[in-house]
């Protein structure tokens, strides 16, 4: 297990290193210099040069890259060009919106998908199965930002149960925050739940044909007990992979959903920074998102090894 973990850890570090290089140099080749953008069209060359020096833009690229990466490792993400506040502070403020949203959506998607997938698998080929599969087919085809607009139309504008947008703020309490994140989380969760339900169903169907399932039935367990005790645990491996992958979709999808609901999360921060050419904020947020995805995938790999001991011994 230790060897397996170390090997995965090494590949995690390489991935993060390459990702940081890619993001940094992608931003570097972006046309437009932040200093001249901030000072406007009539700025004098010496003013621009002075601001470049102040922002640390006058040193060679590789030195800036090293400074950026080593800064991030110590929690210093630099200072925003436009707001003149620490980027780390801006990100952590926004994180308190985006992260709960992604986790809420992940929980909802599992909560919908697990029973739906198990139900469909248990009734394979019957009306219930066809209905669930039809619903998932629809679920993967619906753009989540459109679904979000429909939820607003029904539950905020017509029924007035929720507000049409905005974030309650943590000072209003946990309940108020969750309430204001409910519609965004549902719209984010729907397509993911549809995918997860399909994976759950097919993973369970694969497991159901295994000999140990027949043995479990033979020793007197009911089919529900067999499914619960033996089927689910073995079906969890593909399901875990998809949940890991979905986390990245939820973070990225959140960026669009935040636009629909005017949520002050990382997504809105990225868009605001892009239009203000506040590149240090953009690269830091993107790096953070990539970091989260890579680390979650690493955690999924480790979870595999725990769920399926064969993976450990194969190393």
């Amino acid at each position: 297990m230790l060897r397996y973990t170390l090997k995965r850890l090494l590949s995690l570090c390489i991935s993060l290193g390459v990702a940081s290089l890619l993001i940094f140099f992608m931003i570097e080749i972006a046309p437009g210099d932040p200093a001249s953008f901030m000072l406007g069209l009539n700025a004098q060359p010496d003013t621009i040069a002075a601001l470049q020096a102040e922002l640390g833009l006058d040193v060679p690229k590789w030195q800036r890259y090293v400074a950026w990466v080593s800064g991030m490792l110590t929690g210093d993400f630099g200072t925003s060009y436009t707001y003149r506040t620490p980027v780390a502070q801006m990100i952590s403020d926004r994180m308190w919106v985006s992260l709960p949203l992604a986790l809420y959506a992940l929980a909802l998607s599992a909560l919908i998908a697990f029973p739906a997938g198990m139900y469909a698998a248990a009734r394979r080929g019957q009306t219930g199965d066809v209905a669930v599969m039809g619903a998932t087919q629809l679920g993967v085809a619906v753009p989540n930002f459109w679904f979000a607009m429909m939820l607003v139309l029904i539950f905020a504008i017509n029924l007035r149960w929720f507000s049409a947008g905005g974030f309650a703020g943590w000072d209003k309490g946990f309940g108020a925050v969750m309430w204001s994140l409910t519609l965004p989380a549902i719209s984010l969760a729907l397509p993911q739940a549809a995918i997860l339900a399909r994976v759950m169903r097919s993973a369970l169907l694969d497991v159901m044909n295994e000999d140990f399932m027949r043995t479990a039935r033979a020793k007197g367990l009911t089919s529900a007990q067999t499914l619960w005790r033996h089927g689910l645990r073995n079906a969890l491996i593909p399901v875990l992979t998809i949940i890991g992958l979905q986390f990245s979709f939820l973070l990225a999808g959140g960026i669009i959903i935040e636009q629909v609901f005017y949520l002050p999360g990382l997504g809105r921060l990225v868009f605001q920074s892009i239009s203000a050419r506040d590149l240090i904020v953009v690269e830091s947020v993107v790096m953070l998102l990539v970091f989260c995805v890579i680390v979650v995938n690493f955690a999924v790999d480790l979870a595999y090894a725990i769920v399926d001991p064969r993976l450990r011994t194969r190393e």
Partner: protein, 271 residues
């Protein structure tokens, strides 16, 4: 032909026909503003109603189909054009340094949240259909590379490949002449799936203003326009939404149907 394939083909064909017909005919000029007729609900003259500028939504949906299909089509083309050779190469040199390099590079692209990078690319190089195509296309490369490699590896062990080697063909020629035809079915199915994902991605990018720019209509852009008016003119949001859903569902069903249709083993099992 199975039911999925027929429904999927019909829905996909509808979108393609709408796009093609829009080149020669639309009920109204999709770009002409007609303020007195604004925000009409669907009626006998404007079949899908009009938007806040009085533009005919039916015409915009037809022309918007062009944008969606063109972006998704070229993005799939990029993915196949680069992903298939890479996948074939990796399979031919299985376990070698080049295989490892291609697959690790693929893992890396997979690790990036695709929409974030698409947003980054379009933000850096400017919003527009071409950059949207590139942004979506990049993420199709590892998908095709992986599918081809996975499918090609067992074929390399087969006897007819051995025979081709004995006949003196090199790896590149074997890949093109023997491996590729044998993985083609799988690629067609994957292409329809990536096509539908491309349509969704294009809609999302256009929705946040990073896709096709006005006056080019696009379904995502129409939804962005509809957002603030959803309470007074819900048809402005409903109709482009249905267009996206039906097209994507059509492509997904077509993919499912094709997989069954092209797999002879399943066909025999059915009959």
């Amino acid at each position: 032909m199975n039911r999925n394939l027929i429904i999927g083909l019909t829905l996909s064909a509808l979108a393609v026909i709408a796009a093609l017909v829009s080149f020669v005919w639309t009920p109204f000029d999709h770009a002409s503003l007609n303020i007195p007729d604004k925000l009409q609900t669907p009626n006998g003259i404007h079949w899908f109603g009009t938007d806040h500028f009085g533009r005919d939504i039916f015409s915009m949906i037809m022309v918007g189909a062009r944008t969606s299909i063109a972006v998704a089509f070229v993005a799939v083309g990029i993915g196949m054009g680069l992903g298939i050779p890479l996948g074939l190469w990796a399979a031919a040199r299985k376990g070698s340094f080049i295989d490892e390099l291609i697959m690790r590079a693929n893992d890396l692209i997979f690790a990036f949240p695709s929409l974030v990078i698409a947003i980054l690319i379009t933000a850096i190089f400017g919003a527009g259909a071409v950059n949207a195509i590139i942004a979506i296309g990049i993420f199709n490369i590892p998908v095709f590379a992986r599918v081809v490699r996975g499918a090609a590896m067992p074929i390399w062990e087969r006897e007819f490949i051995f025979a081709a080697r004995v006949a003196g063909k090199n790896a590149a020629r074997i890949s093109v002449e023997h491996i590729l035809p044998n993985v083609m079915n799988l690629l067609i199915v994957q292409a329809t799936i990536q096509f539908s994902l491309g349509i969704l991605a294009e809609a999302a990018l256009s929705y946040v203003g990073l896709g096709a720019q006005p006056p080019t209509p696009s379904w995502g852009r129409m939804l962005a326009d509809a957002q603030t008016l959803v309470s007074i003119a819900p048809h402005m949001a409903l109709i482009p939404g249905f267009a996206i859903i039906l097209t994507v569902m059509g492509l997904n069903l077509m993919g499912d149907g094709l997989r069954d249709y092209l797999n002879p083993r399943l066909r025999v099992a059915r009959t």
